[in-house]
């Protein structure tokens, strides 16, 4: 089974609509990162969450880490074509020492004008 499950795998929305992407782990999330990737390009850092219940916002994107620290959601308000891309969650799943990020498979977002 996957360590990090993202849902949905893909999402097509009309411009102006709100949407939510989820990232679920069977293990405790010690650090949870959200990135955006355009096809064939690098990963753009969006936000990092560490504490249970934490919520961060940047422009129209809000990310939350639930109290149990096993799920995070990314919410986009009033989506625009510029939001289109692949959203990846990456997480530190081991406390103390391991620095590596484990990634989900990504959610491909299409925003139709």
């Amino acid at each position: 089974s996957q360590e990090l499950e993202q849902s949905p795998q893909s999402l097509i929305v009309q411009e102006g609509k709100n949407l939510t992407i989820n990232c679920t782990s069977s293990k405790t999330l010690y650090g949870l990162y959200w990135y955006k990737q355009k096809y064939g390009e690098g990963l753009i850092f969006l936000m990092m969450l560490q504490k249970g219940g934490e919520e961060k916002s940047h422009e129209k994107i809000t990310a939350k880490l639930d109290e149990k620290k096993q799920q995070s959601s990314l919410h986009i308000t009033a989506s625009q074509p510029s939001h289109a891309g692949i959203y990846l969650c990456g997480a530190v799943l081991t406390q103390g020492g391991s620095e590596k990020l484990v990634f989900g498979k990504g959610t491909k977002l299409t925003v139709n004008p």
Binding site: G31, Y35, G40, G42, E99, K100
Partner: protein, 115 residues
Amino acid sequence: EPEVTQTPSHQVTQMGQEVILRCVPISNHLYFYWYRQILGQKVEFLVSFYNNEISEKSEIFDDQFSVERPDGSNFTLKIRSTKLEDSAMYFCASKTTGAYNSPLHFGNGTRLTVT
């Protein structure tokens, strides 16, 4: 805003050849990483590097792979004898500290094609 830069953006090589992928991390960062993404698959951790030595590596990072920080700015990934299955996008990343709350910044990647 400072960024991680990688060269070349695309590298084509024949099976069995050696390749060196180059990265210039953000200047005040101390922790360096290589990840890869095979087309259509997840981004996977390869290796982390701190204080001039490898701090962690994955099962993928076998004896064919090596990393080096030859000077104060460059960080390289060498694949000694490339295989077809090494074809992937390779991402360099860096961050200021090893703490969980230190954001990891990625470069734009090098697309390696092994023929």
